[in-house]
């Protein structure tokens, strides 16, 4: 059983479990799935200053911080306890394209060529980790949600605004992947 769980989980197992979290959160607490909100709550708790958008009772939303704390623990279970030590089974053509951008490490879930402490001092590492992270935080709040809040929760409840957001997530992602990121990864 454990050996089976250590294999990568196929989409038709993981997707439905991710989807079922939408009604579960609604039923156990009338909560809407959304992960990027946790970043706003932390900002509100730590550095609200006099910013209108950060002046609200974040403590009323503390369930969300427990939820993302759970994701962190889940990352340990899935990424450490159930780790099978195999590289991510991406397609041959992706491997080829990634190699062509100068990435050499295919160990683990993210390439160590890009993600390491010392890389923060290089332009490439700074762009990937710091600028990338900044765009994730800035963009998700500007859009009013991220992959979970818009793509999963928003589409599940047939919100037009979320469909627009998801379309633009993909436009931004495609622009980056095909035109900008290859230049950055090759720095």
């Amino acid at each position: 059983m454990i050996e089976l769980l250590k294999e990568p989980w196929p989409w038709y197992v993981s997707g439905p479990i991710i989807g079922i979290s939408v009604p579960i959160l609604l039923l156990i607490g009338n909560k809407m799935l959304g992960i990027s909100s946790s970043l706003r709550h932390v900002c509100s708790a730590v550095a609200p200053f006099n910013i209108q958008f950060l002046k609200y009772n974040w403590k009323a939303e503390i369930w969300n911080l427990f939820f993302v704390g759970g994701i962190l623990i889940g990352g340990f279970i899935g990424g450490v306890l159930l780790n099978n030590g195999e590289p991510v089974a991406i397609s041959e053509s992706t491997v080829k394209d990634i190699k062509a951008m100068g990435i050499q490490s295919f160990e683990g879930l993210v390439p160590s060529d890009l993600f390491s402490w010392k890389n923060i001092l290089s332009l490439k590492g700074f762009l990937v980790m710091v600028v990338g992270g900044f765009l994730i935080g800035f963009g998700s709040r500007y859009a009013g949600g991220c992959t979970s809040g818009h793509a999963i929760m928003g589409l599940s409840s047939l919100q037009l605004a979320s469909l627009v957001a998801v379309i633009f997530f993909f436009i931004g992602g495609l622009l980056m992947t095909h035109f900008i990121a290859p230049l950055i990864y090759q720095l």
């Binding site: 769980l5 989409w11 038709y12 997707g15 439905p16 939408v22 009604p23 609604l26 039923l27 607490g29 009338n30 809407m32 992960i35 970043l39 900002c43 910013i51 950060l54 369930w63 427990f66 759970g70 994701i71 962190l72 623990i73 889940g74 990352g75 990424g79 590289p87 397609s91 992706t94 879930l109 993210v110 390439p111 390491s116 890389n119 762009l127 992270g133 900044f134 994730i136 935080g137 800035f138 998700s140 709040r141 859009a143 009013g144 992959t147 979970s148 589409l155 409840s157 605004a161 979320s162 627009v164 957001a165 633009f168 997530f169 931004g172 992602g173 980056m176 992947t177 900008i180 990121a181």
Partner: protein, 136 residues
């Protein structure tokens, strides 16, 4: 503790995201290059299950376990979904992670991803600061 149940849902969510490799930079590269169905299968089947369950909750007028009416407020459309959405997508593709996977990766031991989380917090704060001046 009434919040522990949310943590339990998060644990399952995080385990699934990690074991299905949705947290992986490699999978995001593959998705934006249309070289595998994997990520589309995950998002697509999650949305199908979500649509059916939200429909059922509304149809059967189910209440939450506290007896509350379940309310799903409409998300209002504004230009943020266009500008912010594009910027978010660029960050998602560049770092290969969105907010859920960032947390999952740290739990899985990829500690340099803490830099990505710290930067995302900064991005959120800067957005909050400039929100009144940005087109919405």
């Amino acid at each position: 503790m009434k919040n522990i149940k949310f943590m339990l849902v998060g644990i399952v969510f995080g385990t699934v995201l990690t074991k299905t490799e949705a947290v992986s930079w490699f999978r995001i590269q593959e998705m934006f290059r249309f070289q595998s169905f994997h990520m589309y299968g995950i998002i697509g089947s999650a949305v199908v299950v979500g649509i059916i369950s939200v429909w059922l909750i509304k149809k059967l007028k189910l209440k939450s376990i506290n007896g509350e009416e379940i309310s799903i407020p409409d998300k209002q459309f504004n230009k943020g979904q266009i500008f912010g959405g594009t910027l978010f997508g660029m960050g998602w593709a560049l770092s290969g992670a969105c907010p859920g996977p960032m947390y999952g990766l740290v739990g899985a031991g990829y500690l340099p991803v803490l830099i990505v989380i710290a930067s995302a917090l900064l991005g959120t704060w800067v957005y909050s600061y400039f929100k009144p001046k940005l087109p919405h």
